[in-house]
Structures are given as structure tokens and as C-alpha cells.
Symmetry: C2
Subunit: 584 residues, 2 copies
């Protein structure tokens, strides 16, 4: 029998018998489970596509055909087959590898970084177009989950690929789940297709010019292989729709498909998380606040774009929320636009969304929400350095998305208490759209007293002279510590909580000139396009010197938050040293 460790490249599986492949699939699942239970990661999606991945590499020629993975929540079997199996077999190497497709790891196989959902079909279309232009011949394959089909760009890809009319194979891995359950009428169509063995009237894919094959047993290697063999070298676009079992082969993951989409380290024996923390955190608080708003006001509408788990809206909570909860699918454009219009219609929407995904909806933020100046509330999670620390999911550009749009107010609370107060205020007012930067990092119930008028006035937390530390959101705690260090050096720093970061309290800023020589701004997001730059611009004509601290303009991967903050001088010591240097 072949050993998993001996698979060095996809070609190594081409001659294997079905018995050997079944045995190999078992080894792959075993390795997957050891790996993921040790360091955490995507469980269900990866377990579900072992057979499909093996089938794919038996049919297609990895040295020539191009395979584009969507979102990479299901790429571990693929990584095992493309020269990276050691990383999943040796616990010492577990952390050496990205969970996402990652071109530097295997440039000949990983064509793109894929972390966000839904781009695989447009990317495949671009590859196919380049192939056709060059007169080359090979298969272009996109592998996409059912959940990812709800993103508008996936539709745009189908529409463009269908029009291109040449070889392009879309494998739809239908495990009947996004992260949580699927939402969208498209999923009724997929269900009808499953229930009719692919023969239902009104086939979404056929309506977009694709040929179509259905595979009922998507975890049956031979069945998938036969369908892919039929699709291979197709002269026109074709969808191979396979019905797979999320979590296949591990009972806890088959039973709790939502929980086991992504798991922190867990006990393989019983599927329970290795650590259970009762410590308060801002994401749990976000879910609590959202539920309180629902209970308090029947017009509250909590909107998500398929990430209810990120704010702890589990199945029971969603049920309790009933009609006041709306999941629009992985479709942030729709999330913003629906929220804007629901506000217009007299509801009070709260759209809870991750910064890294909100970047899909800049047009709707400008045109639908802010130009119409509709009073929806956005709770933006995973902002700045405290977002998801993977290069494909950075949250560094929350200010770039939200701070420069007229009418839109962007608030940055510094503690749980201030966060609650801001949500409360945003939800009650009916004048402007408000986005609130959900705090990250260490949890503070109260950091400084909550003062009103946080939509227009800076809060002077500590009045000093010589140097002012203006620190937004999560960074206020750092500024307060820095001020203590400066005090030890005989410098009595002013500390300011700006509260709103879509503008500047110009009167407060200019008043500083009377007794301050320097300003240090602190933000844990991108310096370029951030809050500090607005302060620097407005202080530019004054005599004050300004130094902005924040994140450098670069893509970083699997980073340690403290290391990054240290490199940017966003530590009490770093801030104090910056202030002293500026005062010299």
C-alpha cells in the first residue's frame, strides 16, 4: 500500500488502484484530523473533498491543466498532493504552512492567494482568456463551494465565462452549507437539482450558458472521476455539480456542521474544544448587544453576510431573533444595500460585518448608504491589527473604506462601555449612517468615562502640555501607559480619545498649539489613508511637529500582533520614545 508520506507530486497518484486510493483517503483524513485538532483550522470543508480532490488529480494533468481554488477552506487534500504532505504529517511543521493557497509555497500549483470567497470563476476566466489568446490548449478548472456562489463576483464570473464559450470547468462542491446554513434563492435551485439528480427545470448554471453534470455521490471517488473525465477537454464551459458531505469521516464534524466549519484546537476523541474561555471579549459582546437591540425594539434588523458565528449568533440565537435577523449570504454588497434601504423603509438595521469582507462593498457604502444618508448602523469587526492575522484576510484597511466618505460617521470605541453607548446612540439617531469599529485586543469594561458628543468632539482624557498623544480605539490604553512613562521623564503628556475617526475635531486640534510642541497619533490600522494623516494634514500649517504611528503599507502573513505593534512603535515604550524624540 502506498504511504501518504511518499506522495511528492500529483502525478504520484495517477497509477493507483481504487483500493490504494481509498486507503490513501483514509490516511489523508487521519493526518488532517491530527493536524487540525492540534492547531485549529477548517475541518468540515477539508474532510468533505478528499475524494473529489483525488479524482481531480487522477483526471487532470497537474503539470499542464490549471486549477483555481476558491477561498481555500478545502485545500488541505490538495496541499497534501502537491508536495506539501510533510507539513501535515510532522507536528513540528504544522505551522510552517499556510492554510490557504499560497503561491510562494508551490508556485507551479498555487496560482493565486485565495482567502476571500467567490473569485475562482473570474480568475479562471482570465486564465482561459490568456490561454485562448496564446493559442494554447489545456483545461482551466475552478473549484468552488456552494456558499461562495452567493457572492456577486461568482455570478459575474459565470456570466463572463459562459460568454467566453471555450474550455472552463467549474466544479461546484455542494455541501449544503456556507459557514452556517446557506441563504439565498439559489440554494433552492441547488436543492431541486440534488433532488432531481440534476434534471430540475430552470438550472441556474445552464441559464448562464454552461453545460452541466450532476454527481449524486460526491464522496464516491469513482463517480466524481467519471464525471470529470466527461468534462475534461470540453470545448465549452461546463459545471460539474457534486453533492458532498461536510465533515465526512469524522462523526462530530458530520453532526455539527456549522461548529466544525472552523475549529480552534480540539480533542479528537470527543470533538470538544481544547480550551474553553469564559473571559469576556468584544465579539461575544457584539452578539449580546445585537440581541439586546432586537429585544428592545421590534424594528431592529440584524443583518449578516454569512458570518453569524463571528458575533456568536448561534442557531438558537438566530431562531430567537426570528424575522429580525437576516443573512444575505456571502454578499456584502447586498448587506450594505439592504441595510440602507431597510433604514429608508423605517426599520433600524445593524449590519455586523468583518472589515476584510466589507471591502467588497465600497460602492454601496458610497452610493446607497452615504449619498442617501440613511441611518443604518454598521458594526465592523476584525479591524486593524486585531483582525484575522492572515495575509488573505487582513483588516488593515477599515479606515480606508470608511473614513473618507462624506456623511458617514466612523466611531472608534475604547472599551465595552463606550462601545455600548455608541451603538445605542447610533441606533437611536435618524440622521446619518454610522459605522462603529468593534474594539479588538485586551478587553476593557471601562477605560475612561463615557462622554456625550462623540460624533463631533474629541475627549481629552488627560490634560497636559508639550506633547499630545491622540490614540484611537484600541490604542488609547497604550497611550495611557505611554503617558505614565513620560511622566517619569518629567513630561506631562496630554492624552486624547478622538472617538470619531471619519473627521477631526479641528478646534480641539488647533487649540493644542497654545501649549504643545508635538503630537503623536496612534492607530492600529494602515497609516496610509488613516486617521493620523488627517491630523497631520490639519496640523501641517501649525508650529506643532507630528509623528503618526500605525501599520506600514505592506502585506504581512500569519503575524504576531505584539510583534507588529512593537515594530510600529505602538507600545508604551515606543510611543514614549517617539514623543521624546519629537520634542528634542
Amino acid at each position: 500500500m502506498i504511504q501518504l508520506k511518499d506522495i511528492k507530486k500529483p502525478e504520484d497518484i495517477r497509477g493507483l488502484s481504487d483500493d490504494e486510493l481509498r486507503n490513501l483517503a483514509e490516511q489523508m483524513r487521519e493526518a488532517m484530523l491530527k493536524w487540525v485538532s492540534t492547531i485549529g483550522g477548517h475541518v468540515g470543508p477539508n474532510l468533505g473533498v478528499v475524494e473529489a480532490t483525488l479524482a481531480m488529480y487522477q483526471v487532470f494533468d497537474a503539470s499542464k491543466d490549471k486549477i483555481v481554488w476558491d477561498v481555500s477552506h478545502q485545500d488541505v487534500a490538495y496541499k497534501m498532493l502537491t508536495g506539501r504532505v510533510d507539513a501535515f504529517l510532522d507536528p513540528k511543521l504544522y505551522r510552517s504552512i499556510s492554510e490557504y493557497t499560497f503561491p510562494p509555497e508551490a508556485p507551479e500549483y498555487d496560482l493565486f492567494y485565495a482567502g476571500h470567497t467567490s473569485p475562482s470563476i473570474t480568475l479562471a476566466t482570465g486564465l482561459a482568456k490568456a490561454r485562448d489568446l496564446k493559442g494554447e490548449k489545456y483545461n482551466v478548472v475552478a473549484f468552488i463551494g456552494d456558499g461562495s456562489l452567493s457572492g456577486g463576483v461568482a455570478f459575474e464570473g459565470l456570466d463572463a465565462a459562459g460568454a467566453l464559450g471555450t474550455n472552463l470547468i467549474v466544479i461546484v462542491n455542494d455541501n449544503q452549507m456556507a459557514i452556517a446554513e446557506d441563504h439565498g434563492a439559489l440554494y433552492d435551485n441547488l436543492r431541486q437539482l440534488r433532488e432531481t439528480n440534476g434534471t430540475a427545470d430552470d438550472n441556474y448554471f445552464r441559464s448562464l450558458g454552461f453545460d452541466y453534470l450532476y454527481v449524486k455521490e460526491g464522496n464516491n471517488l469513482d463517480a466524481v472521476r467519471q464525471a470529470l473525465a466527461k468534462a475534461k477537454d470540453s470545448p465549452k464551459p461546463i459545471v460539474v455539480h457534486i453533492d458532498t458531505q461536510k465533515g465526512q469521516g469524522y462523526v462530530p464534524a458530520e453532526r455539527n456542521r456549522e461548529e466544525f466549519h472552523y475549529m480552534p484546537p480540539f480533542d479528537l476523541a470527543n470533538g470538544l474544544p481544547a480550551e474553553n474561555s469564559d473571559a469576556p471579549d468584544y465579539d461575544t459582546l457584539t452578539g449580546k448587544i445585537a440581541m439586546e437591540m432586537i429585544e428592545k425594539d421590534p424594528l431592529t434588523l440584524v443583518v449578516t453576510a454569512a458570518t453569524p458565528g463571528a458575533f456568536c449568533f448561534d442557531e438558537a440565537t438566530r431562531k430567537r431573533a426570528g424575522k429580525q435577523y437576516m443573512d444575505v449570504g456571502i454578499a456584502e454588497q447586498c448587506g450594505v444595500s439592504v441595510s440602507a434601504a431597510a433604514a429608508k423603509g423605517g426599520a433600524k438595521p445593524i449590519f455586523v460585518v468583518e472589515s476584510t469582507f466589507l471591502q467588497r462593498a465600497l460602492d454601496q457604502l458610497i452610493e446607497d448608504l452615504s449619498l442617501d444618508c440613511l441611518p443604518a448602523t454598521l458594526l465592523v469587526q476584525g479591524t486593524g491589527v486585531y483582525g484575522i492575522p492572515d495575509v488573505t484576510h487582513l483588516g488593515f484597511w477599515d479606515e480606508v473604506q470608511l473614513s473618507h466618505i462624506p456623511n458617514l460617521l466612523y466611531l472608534a470605541p475604547t472599551s465595552a462601555e463606550e462601545y455600548r453607548a455608541m451603538v445605542d446612540w447610533a441606533h437611536q439617531q435618524q440622521n446619518v449612517p454610522v459605522a462603529i469599529r468593534v474594539p479588538g485586543g485586551p478587553y476593557h469594561e471601562t477605560l475612561v468615562p463615557v462622554e456625550p458628543n462623540f460624533d463631533s468632539k474629541w475627549q481629552t482624557v488627560q490634560k497636559g502640555s508639550e506633547v499630545a498623544l491622540i490614540a484611537m480605539g484600541n490604542m488609547l490604553a497604550v497611550a495611557l501607559e505611554a503617558a505614565k512613562l513620560l511622566k517619569d521623564q518629567g513630561i506631562n503628556a496630554t492624552v486624547i480619545n478622538p472617538r470619531f475617526i471619519s473627521g477631526v475635531d479641528e478646534a480641539a486640534l488647533l487649540a493644542l498649539e497654545a501649549d504643545h510642541k508635538a503630537i503623536v497619533t496612534l492607530e492600529d490600522s494602515s497609516l496610509s489613508g488613516g486617521f493620523g494623516e488627517k491630523v497631520a494634514r490639519l496640523a501641517g500649517p501649525t508650529s506643532m511637529r507630528v509623528k503618526c504611528l500605525g501599520l506600514d503599507k505592506k502585506f504581512i502573513d500569519r503575524y504576531n500582533v505584539d510583534d507588529v505593534l512593537k515594530q510600529c512603535n505602538l507600545t508604551p515604550e515606543g510611543v514614549a520614545a517617539t514623543a521624546q524624540e519629537l520634542l528634542k
Copy 2:
């Protein structure tokens, strides 16, 4: 017979006979044509939906039912029926009214500003959700053109509305055209539906959970009215698909449907533009450059998202470009993603796109293009104050979209010669994605000599002392004039062309401190999030005072470019005065 001028509100047409309505439609077309031929505007789409609009307001109750217009290229008939007919009858009032839906004009009817394509269905979904939450009963109607269906957010809306499952009526105005011809496999489906009188297999709308009615004669008032009457009060989402004639009733518009989508002022007698200018301009140049690149290199791929006219790629030119031209439909996400992947596949894509529409593709700019660092070239038109001067189409945020993303280089040429050189360089290099800010405003063949290394070094156009004027793109000419004025005052200003605006030449900036006390930055885009702020941040710790000139953070409508520039001090006099003030 009823007179058009007597229609004050939609209810005024409800009791009219069909003869009266036909007569009214004639009056409407006549007024439309006088208005549009005098001041320019959307011709074909407006002429095509006169009957459908009349039918809609006969069937629906405008005081209760909510109608959401998509993109507003077809809303003139609607405006005439909703209290604004005078503006289309009295030439003195022609310019008093927006061409787009505009809530301040008629708050009870115009629910949203609609200028970008494709949001009507998500907006309608939000309204329907709010209605259901409040337990109210009325019809929610979205009126959308076939072209707009290619935007991903339109799909997201259908998907969400289908899942909502309650009353929502989508009228698909199928005139078989976007601005130019439609692109996308969806349009084959629409064609099949037209050819089978709505009975084709694989109905795109039905696959998304909608009921469906087809109206072959979309310019037959009674036929449309009957279908809408059937759809009215539908307890679930329904599409009414009407086949209309773009340009109906005006022969030149019926014959030249692309040209007459939007026309500058023209002679009603023959349909010829009132003025024909041979003066060179940057958009015409863009088309020329694109064609040159196609002819020079068989791997060049010119991509557009349905706006070939914006760079003068007319039908003949597109035919000549053949396979090297790709229109992805109104789908900018697809445009960026396809361009990125085509570069990966070895083609040399040039995506020509309007700034105001590129804001739909921020996610793809970050995740697909820049993270993967793929050498596609973007030519960004309509940036800053020289973009489309309508509040729904502002191009002020080009820097916000493009300047803060790692790896992506954003260049701002100052003249035709420099523009050509930058495109040439971008197209040849294979290292990074490059966006080029197509110049606007007065045309300069050469303003300053083109120097190499525009991706990393500022160009000192004029070396002086005391004050440095750093002026990007279109604003360099203003800075040069300002420097002359300053010279008259005895101030010998330095003038710098930064050329790349996604970063700062820090060495050059810091070197200024030796003999400069002040810096003035000039940009014709949003100050907030712009180039000047980066300069202000990096100069912050120095002794130099900095003043940034650029556009204020606000939505402005139907503006005059010179007025706006004057208000921002972006005139030679304003810049000179700013510099003098700063030096005091």
C-alpha cells in the same frame, strides 16, 4: 385631450383612456427630444420606456407602492409624471433638474439617488424587508435594465429577494443593450426567452425563485399594463420581463442605439451632434494608446466593463481589436479579477475603467490583483474633479481606492507625452500592478520633459527655495503658473511632479528641509485619504509647514469645475496666496 403640462402627480393619469395615453406618450416623447437635444443626456433608454412608465403608474398606487429605479438612464418619463414636468417643458428650467432620481426634488417619489447601475433589486429587498417587519402591505417594485443585470450586486439582490419570498416585483426592461451591446451569457438566456415568448428552458429568474411573466410588446402600453396588473400584489417575488425598443419613436436613435444611449446636444432634424470638436483630449488618446498596444503586441488584452465609448472604442475599433478586446459587462469586479488572472496566464491586460465605477472592485484590487502582485495595467478615467460632475458619479475617491494598497503602483501623468510613456512602461514591466490616472482638464501634449524612474522618484521641475509646490497630474500646470506669480513676489518656489502617488519619495521630501520652510501639495481629488496627507504625515516631524490643497469631503452635484477648483484654492492665485500665508 389632456395636456402634458397638466400632469402634476402620477394619479393624474389613472383615469385616462388609451387614446389619451397614446397622445400623452407622444407629447412626452416630443418634450423629451427637445430637452435632450438642447442640453444633452440619455436618449435611447428614455424614449424606450414611455409606455412602460405610463402602464406602471396606471397599475400601481404611487402614494403607497414603492418604486425603485435602477441607474436612472430611463427616468425622464417618470419625472414627468411625478410633479416635475415643467422642467422638461420650459427650456429655462431644463438645467434645474437632475437627470437622475434625486430625493430632494421629490422626496415622496424618488426614494434613492440612483446613478450607478444594478442596485435597484437589493434596495427593493431592503424596503420589502422593512415593510414585512412593520407588518405593512404595499408593492415594492424595482425597474432595471437588461444591461444592469450583469453587475454582481443585481444577482445578489435577486438571490436575496428570492429567499425573502414576499412581494417584490422586478420589471426587467430588456432593450438588448447596455451602453454598447450586452456582454455575458445571461444575455443568451434573455434572447432565448424573447425568442420563445418567455417559455425557454432554464429561465435565469425562475432559477432564483422568481415567478416570471414575459411581455413581447414592451412598447405596447396595454400589454405591459396587463402583465403588471397580474404581478401586482403578488405574494412572492416576480419578474416582469418586457421587450422594449431603445430609442423608440426617434429614427436616428432607433438606428444608432449605441451612439444615442447618451448624446451631447444634437440637431433634432438629423441627429447630428451640435458641435464637433477636433481638439485633442485624453479620453480619445486613451483609445488610441490602447489600439496601439493591441497592434504592437498580440498578447495585449484591452478589457472594459461596458464603457468602450468612454475611450472611443467604437464598433469598428472593437471589431479590429478582435480577440484582444474583452467586454465583461457592467461588472468591474470581474474586470479587475479577469485582468489579474490574464496577466498570470501570460497576457498583457489593460483594463480601462472609470474611477466612479472602479469603487465596486476594491476587494479584487486588494485580493486578486495586488496581493498576487500581477502586472496588469489599469487606465483610470474620470478621476477627481475632472470626472463626471454629477453627485451620483463622482470620481473624487480614486486615490482612496488605489493609493493605500501594498504592491500597487499608482501613477499620475501630467501630459499626453508622459501618459504615453507611463503606459508603455507599465505594459512592458512584469513586476507589479500599475494603475495610471488618466489626465483630465486642459490638454497638454508636453508639459515638462519626461524623465525615467517615475515609479520611485519625484521629478523636480523647477528648483527654488523657501516653498515647494508638489502637484500631482492635472495640477502641475496650476503649480507652474502659481510659481510665476510667486516669482513676481520675489519668491523662488520649487515645483515638483511626484509622478507616482501611491507613495512618497521620502529622500526627496526630507531633502527639501535644507532650504525650504513650507510645502504646498496640490491634488484635484479628495483631500481626505489623498496624496497630500501622505506628504503631511512624512513631513510632520520636520520643521516644514505643510498645507494640502484638494477637494473637500462632501458630495457635490452638477458642479462647475472651475468653481470647485477656486473654492479649494486650486488656482494659480489660490496656490500662490496659500504659499505666501504659510511663509509668514
